[in-house]
Point group: C2
Chain length 348, copies 2
DNA sequence: CTGAAAGCGCTTACAG
DNA sequence: CTGAAAGCGCTTACAG
């Protein structure tokens, strides 16, 4: 049924070996035979079988991309860039979605490896994972995207998350906010962990106290964050601002505020983290910390490809850290004086 | 280096064939030898090579998913569902992003097939494409997701797009709008083509005239739609409402309106199409037509799997059509009387 | 410049 | 219940 190099060889009256040589554009094939073979390929509409080729070359030209949640636009947008760049280099990408579950992650790695992908980009991995070290030590190409692990041996590209959080908090404080709730997300990730540290430090540095009841450190779950925010916003003594560790979570906060009919930014300021495309939409206009995802995604892919083709056997800096940037839009402003006074504050 | 069935066979003192049998859980293996083999597998931490297995079984357990733009949340959310359901059934999925370009699409199909994926779901394909018919006739499992092709032979699951558009227009008309701009998108897709037809018919049916200058039928490009809307909104005689053929495009319209400081819905009504997750966010509250993506995605995957395992050799209905549903939220309202009067309308 | 042969790591009849 | 052998469709030394 399927047509193979053998068929081409027969039709072109050459050996399989020569067919293979023209298929791979090797030099050292007489022009006339190359032509014969090409014509046979054309005639039989032959396309070589990648699986068979992978079997012998030990390359599949496919990459794995493991994300916590592909429906989070930050990941979808990152994926788009990674897929695009990968395609340019001749790689396809298998996407695994873990729903932020460690067991799913482990399974994903397992099957990707058994499918012999040439390398993996992982974007949501617990900071205590030792899996990465094993892969790294085994020489398997892995790079962490917007993730890092505490055991040192790994290649990663991340933002300076600590600094990013400080930027966000400072912005709010400078606007006059003294009560800043925090959607921290799960601290099992080093990124969120460091943002939490940044939040804590910035508060302390500004002489503000951290109110644990104003911090959500549960899982990444839209509904749960919505509920947390919704409840917190019923408090007469509610925070005047929220800092969320992702734009997606910031949107959940805004969703909750809207359903309580609380106006943003007049009655509540919100800052996110990621700068996903939609945040720039002027109808939404979310103030946020840019993750530089174009850069980050491109660097991660480049790093991975280098690892694969071994151009970069001893990468100078295994860990790349990008600079965060505060992008002020329209979800933040000075806290509403009237509300504050009603609550007994006396301005600043 | 790599450890193989051969190694296991040696350690367990059996043949490769029996190793294979326990690997595949075949019956007819003595319990004691099964145990010996299992222990050897355990001991050497062996995981079978999927590539080699695919070579002989003619199955890769991987699917292809081709989308026009994975960064459009509608596609990302659909992908999440498809990937999740696929994983449940033991399939991984390679995602190809075409940027709505026909040549990219063709290349994607090509490489997916040479990688021997077991089946493909295509979500953005030109209605005049003859590629699908060829694949279909060759017996290759393909299902179209939210897409259909004019040549009949294909498996697809789509919404009744014509009716969806009628629903959207009727809603606006019933609210009192007489001037409804339309972001149609490229009419090369049957979905958008049919929505255009629905828009046209509904207008006619309501005795309204279609103003070609109020219709955007260019490519899916956020910037271009933004510009189109921005320009149209400068017109003193501008439309009082927009119907967009996707939520993503509706967002672009809202973006443009916001930058012109035009209030939604007071001064402009907007209805989208898709009902992506974020549209339900109450801060955004986009009125839209639901595509039932959960249903659609699940059905598409099920259809594909059936095609693959041939449980469904003669699918009763090759084309599945779902019912659209209007979801009214807060981006639509009656047209602002003051504005209308200022423009010389005299109410209704 | 060309081809015969071996091999990648599995599974599948088939014989015993 | 078990194993020897062939084969999936390529590529890669190697010999000529």
């Amino acid at each position: 049924m399927r047509i193979t190099v053998h068929d081409i060889a027969r039709v072109a009256n050459v050996s399989q070996a020569t067919v293979s040589k023209v298929l791979n554009n090797y030099s050292g094939v007489k022009e006339s035979t190359r032509k014969k073979v090409s014509e046979a390929i054309e005639e039989l509409k032959f396309t070589p079988d990648s699986v068979a080729r992978s079997m012998v070359t030990n390359k599949t030209n496919t990459l794995g991309l493991i994300v916590g949640d592909i429906s989070n636009p930050f990941f979808a947008e990152s994926a788009k860039i990674i897929i695009g760049k990968a395609q340019e280099q001749g790689y396809d990408v298998i996407i695994s979605n873990t729903d932020h579950d460690d067991e799913n992650l482990e399974n994903a790695i397992q099957t990707l490896i058994s499918k012999r992908v040439d390398g993996i980009i992982i974007s949501s991995i617990s900071r205590t994972s030792i899996r990465i070290k094993k892969l790294h030590d085994a020489g398997f190409p892995v790079v962490l995207y917007n993730s890092r692990v505490e055991s040192d041996s790994s290649n990663s590209v991340v933002l300076d998350n600590y600094k990013g959080a400080v930027l966000a908090v400072d912005h709010l404080v400078e606007l006059g906010h003294e009560s800043i709730a925090f959607i921290a997300g799960p601290t099992k990730y080093l990124t969120t962990y460091e943002r939490y540290a940044g939040y804590e430090a910035a508060l302390k540095n500004r002489g503000l106290v951290l109110n644990k009841e104003h911090v959500y450190d549960g899982e990444y779950d839209y509904e749960k964050v919505y509920d947390f925010s919704y409840n917190l916003l019923s408090d007469p003594d509610r925070p005047t601002s929220f800092f969320a560790t992702s734009d997606q979570m910031a949107l959940a906060v805004m969703d909750a505020a809207a359903s309580r009919n609380i106006k943003i930014p007049d009655e509540l300021s919100v800052v996110g983290f990621d700068n996903m495309n939609i945040s720039a939409n002027q109808y939404i206009g979310l103030t946020t910390i840019s993750q530089q995802k174009e850069n980050m995604a491109e660097l991660a892919l480049k790093k991975l490809i280098n690892l694969i083709v071994k151009k970069d056997p001893h990468p100078v800096s295994a860990e790349l850290t990008l600079e965060p940037e505060l992008i002020v839009r329209k979800t933040t402003s000075t806290p509403n004086k009237i509300i504050l006074e009603r609550r007994g504050y006396n301005g600043t």
